[in-house]
Amino acid sequence: MKTESNLEKVLASGRFAVTAECGPPKGSDTAILMEKAKSLLGHIDAVNVTDNQTAIVRMSSIAACSILKNMGHEPILQMVTRDRNRIALQSDIFGAYALGISNVLCLTGDHQSFGNQKQAVGVFDLDSIQLLKTVKDMRDEEKIIGGESIQGAPKMFIGAAANPFADPVDWRVIRLAKKVNAGADFIQTQCIFNMDQFKKFMNQAVDMGLTEKTYILAGITPFKSVGMAKYMSDKVAGMDIPDELIRRMAGVPKEKQADEGIKIAVEFIQQFREIKGIAGIHVMAIEWEHKVPEILELAGLTSERQN
């Protein structure tokens, strides 16, 4: 075991892992955060705390991770390179680990033009792969960028994201390999809607031996309505939603659409369990966290975990 991460333990044991996303509030209200997190407690193995997702200012991800940790959650700290340079990033890794946070997901982040601070400078001093390698070197070599040694290495379990659907499509698995070679212990994918393309991506990953070196968690987002499906397809960067799924959502009456969205999610989860190389799922139920236990129960994933 490289770290004290509980997520690492679960994945190493071979149990199908479940992580879910929890977005901090736009403000300092801890009650909102705790309410969301409470509905997930006991149902998942670890919780991702987003870092100013889609470039919208929110409570710091480290602070929120610490609060969730105190509630009994196993937090995964999401870190984007958009807002902080290498000085701040490395310092925050030290701090996060000192607070007992032992998982990190290294991301570049959505461009600031998507958010509510469009006039901001985009830092992008490092990219996500460089951040990943930096945290790995801090952990394994006990060195920061430039080679100076440190007092107390952050023993973090290190993750990265993968989007099997962005272009150029042939390049996606090469990028995954780059992340794995740079030290990604686990991968959480973008929301999967195009199952055929995802299976191709996973076949390539298995063939290249990547699933032997890293744990891949398949991303899933339940649709609340056909409107949401259409919005995600048109407006959210990096999404690939087949028309057939949108038609299926549109085909049921409005009041039944949420149930249909959950049904689709459950079917997808069941398919993920059959795909070679998938070590678990990552549920991104945006502002719908309280539905996660129901989805997991329907997918037959409840009894196995006690967090």
Partner: protein, 222 residues
């Protein structure tokens, strides 16, 4: 070249209304190529200003001049005779031209008429594309002569982000994804292997992050 665009007349007026006489000075180099500050644009701006003042029943003296390069003293000296007769210079040079004028004519107010945007190329008639950020350590040789610093919205060094779609950047469909261009170029050259290696963090100290830069060459000095 340096690419710039003309400011709105209202903004220019706000900066120069306080002067009784203004020397409008164009630059016949980069900003002429991008049709923002050459001889033609200088004439048009001077006429537009005169008209705009006329409407407001104001009558400042507005004189035109054009020099070959506003960023080189030898050329800047060509307007030395006209400068004392005016309260201010309105420069259609890039940011470097404006500041060079201010250094040479140190007791004169120098006002910019342009917004200086980037180092770029004329991609086709009427289209200028940013393609260099002057990072001070050119990496084009590794990236198929497409710059990941200037042409990727996130300055990524290790490949395209998850937002690249159909050759377009996630920021805006008007922006070609720089990484899509890099991969296509290297693929066509049979050199995709250049991209599989991990690229370590960039040394930004050679860029503007290291503070304003200066090149001093003794062999070029008198």
């Amino acid at each position: 070249m340096i690419v710039a665009t003309l400011k709105e007349i209202d903004e220019i007026r706000k900066m120069i209304d306080r002067y009784d006489s203004v020397l409008v000075v164009g630059c016949d180099s980069c900003v002429a190529e991008c049709a923002a500050g050459g001889a033609r644009e200088t004439m048009l701006l001077a006429s537009a200003l005169k008209l705009s003042y006329l409407k407001d029943h104001m009558n400042p003296t507005i004189t035109e001049a054009v020099i070959d390069r506003q960023c080189v003293d030898d050329f800047i000296d060509q307007i030395a005779d006209q400068v004392p007769e005016h309260d201010a210079i309105l420069s259609l040079g890039c940011g470097a031209g404006v500041q060079a004028l201010a250094r040479v004519y140190s007791d004169k107010a120098i006002i910019p008429a342009l917004n200086t945007l980037f180092i770029g190329e004329t991609q086709s008639r009427g289209v200028w594309q940013e393609n260099c950020l002057g990072c001070g350590s050119c990496k084009l040789g590794y990236f198929g002569a497409v710059c990941p610093v200037a042409r990727c919205s996130k300055k990524l060094m290790n490949g395209p982000c998850g937002g690249s779609k159909g050759g377009r950047c996630e920021v805006n469909p008007e922006i070609p994804c720089g990484w899509d261009l890099i991969i296509r170029r290297l693929n066509a050259l049979g050199e995709l292997d250049r991209l599989t290696e991990y690229v370590p963090p960039v040394d930004w100290s050679t860029s503007h992050s290291g503070g304003p830069r200066k090149v001093v060459r003794e062999d070029q000095q008198p």
